[in-house]
Symmetry: C2
Subunit: 354 residues, 2 copies
Amino acid sequence: MSATQPAATINLAVIPGDGIGPEVIAEALKVLEKVVAEEGVTLEQTEYKLGAQHWLETGETLPDEVLADLRTRDAILFGAVGAAPGDTRIPSGIIEREMLLKLRFSLDHFVNLRPSRLYGTVGSPLANPGNIDFIVVREGTEGPYVGNGGTLRGGTPHEVATEVSLNTAHGVERVVRDAFRRASERPRKHLTLVHKHNVLVFAGHLWKRTVEAVAREFPEVTHDYLHIDAATIFMVTDPSRFDVIVTDNLFGDIITDLAAAITGGIGLAASGNINMDRTAPSMFEPVHGSAPDIAGQQKADPTAAILSAALLLDHLGYTTAARRIEAAVVADIESRNGESRSTAAIGDAIAAAL
Amino acid sequence: MSATQPAATINLAVIPGDGIGPEVIAEALKVLEKVVAEEGVTLEQTEYKLGAQHWLETGETLPDEVLADLRTRDAILFGAVGAAPGDTRIPSGIIEREMLLKLRFSLDHFVNLRPSRLYGTVGSPLANPGNIDFIVVREGTEGPYVGNGGTLRGGTPHEVATEVSLNTAHGVERVVRDAFRRASERPRKHLTLVHKHNVLVFAGHLWKRTVEAVAREFPEVTHDYLHIDAATIFMVTDPSRFDVIVTDNLFGDIITDLAAAITGGIGLAASGNINMDRTAPSMFEPVHGSAPDIAGQQKADPTAAILSAALLLDHLGYTTAARRIEAAVVADIESRNGESRSTAAIGDAIAAAL
Ligand SMILES: CC(C)[C@H](C(=O)O)[C@@H](O)C(=O)O
Ligand SMILES: CC(C)[C@H](C(=O)O)[C@@H](O)C(=O)O
């Protein structure tokens, strides 16, 4: 699906966000600017002020005009958003829902792509991690994330609160097909569906039936199934069994944080919120949050943001440039010797290794 | 809440179930029979044939008369149920839902208690597990497990499948209060609510508000909050931070399998499905499933089933007997030297160590 003749100009939206977001995005841009210049591509940047701090100053989460403007860009590079945990001025979850999730839903980011790889020199909390190299294709536009629920008799002893998970054939099929395609392009060609179909019967059976149906289009790809609870066990006892995982929005949220933890932490975990139909720009962001406790101190690892920029280039068809960033990151990671470097120093080292 | 003067007779229901269920239950009964006899308690047993095999023979999951009969017992000791993965004769999930979950819901097992402890000699998949000793209080009667959902235009490209999570003030408050009480009786007196309230707003806020309210009744207990995704990270990077976790039915399902994995596997993980109002018998079962691949081979570890019998005695007020089983299990575990023993040999050793 990559464009074979990518454009000579990338019209990039940049949303640095809150906390460590601006610091890690600065390094991602440093690397991105260098590699695209060397590839003869022009990078036009438009920065958008959004996030918890912006909400405090303006009361805005994601105005319609800003969303419309973002739609005119080729892709979005996103840092992190979120208030400090103790900050009671911001209603809990509002930035996440009215901005981050609103972007994913409005721009139809149905493939939430999260690769997990354990690099040689990186410490895993697992005693025997083995060779970890898998991707999670998390559905990004439906499931329990749709915000469909309510409260009856709130605050009384008779309160009832509901959350509705919505799943459609359209939504499940497109992400399952994308996951099979990605599996077919990988050496091991194996796909694992993760769900809980013995309890969540209606959604679970839609996912299972869809996997069975789409599997026929990819006879070279083997597939199996794991309940989400069993998948978390394998994540810590035998993570090398995984190649491509496809799963729903909530299970994907959980399993990708666990996957980041076993591969050395969310400082390295990149992600793409991808609209594979290319009807709107896709968005690339580190899996980590805004980490207000270490913000502004040059303590954050920008590697996840830099790898997210590589995913961005890949999506836009600049595969050589993407591979160069990945190789520079691997070279940098393999030369790490446990000394702590500043955010900028890591960015500099990766840019130098390009 | 334990009865101070427990009855001189325990009227026990036994459901061995499928796969390794009968083997591990035989060992649990061996230990239970010995300890109650020594404590001067009479153990009356009634065995119930239920499970996948029984369904194949009779087409019955859990008939109303059987459920009514079970209600007359003091407690239920449960092995495991479930068909072999490849067995297409049994509709997927039917035994789990129409029997196991039906028991939990019908008998109002609102406290699904799952202790996690890493014993000295047991290998953890974590490189530096630290001192792991926490309990998960999983809600057992509501949330996404209620079976409320449906399918519209099933099998067509326009299919919509829903799953509704139902949460009530009544249901959340009673389990949160139980978790605080358990925390108040533990040395560290710390409770962690695990949810995803930034996305699952309606259910999440009911849980958060309830924890804040009930916390006032337990000023000696400290509490904090983690999103489910962050909780899985801490489970592998810093599990010793946990003391008591309280969470909903689905998050509890996931986190307890992960907890079992980091403490050496589900061969050791016990659980109680407890009706703290004592309006119906509680049910005690190992967290593991029926493991058809190793059934009938004396390969299963009965420790989880034996520890479940200890939880059963505890619930019925026989605390001395419960502590004796736990001590015997600890003694046995600490004398393990990596040699593999049969299911019966482990049961014999624990019975001998009483
Ligand atoms: C911030 C939050 C809404 C988000 C999610 O749950 O998707 C985050 O955890 C993630 O995984 O990107
Ligand atoms: C068998 C299944 C329905 C059950 C659950 O999801 O509760 C099991 O995984 C458990 O944790 O006891």
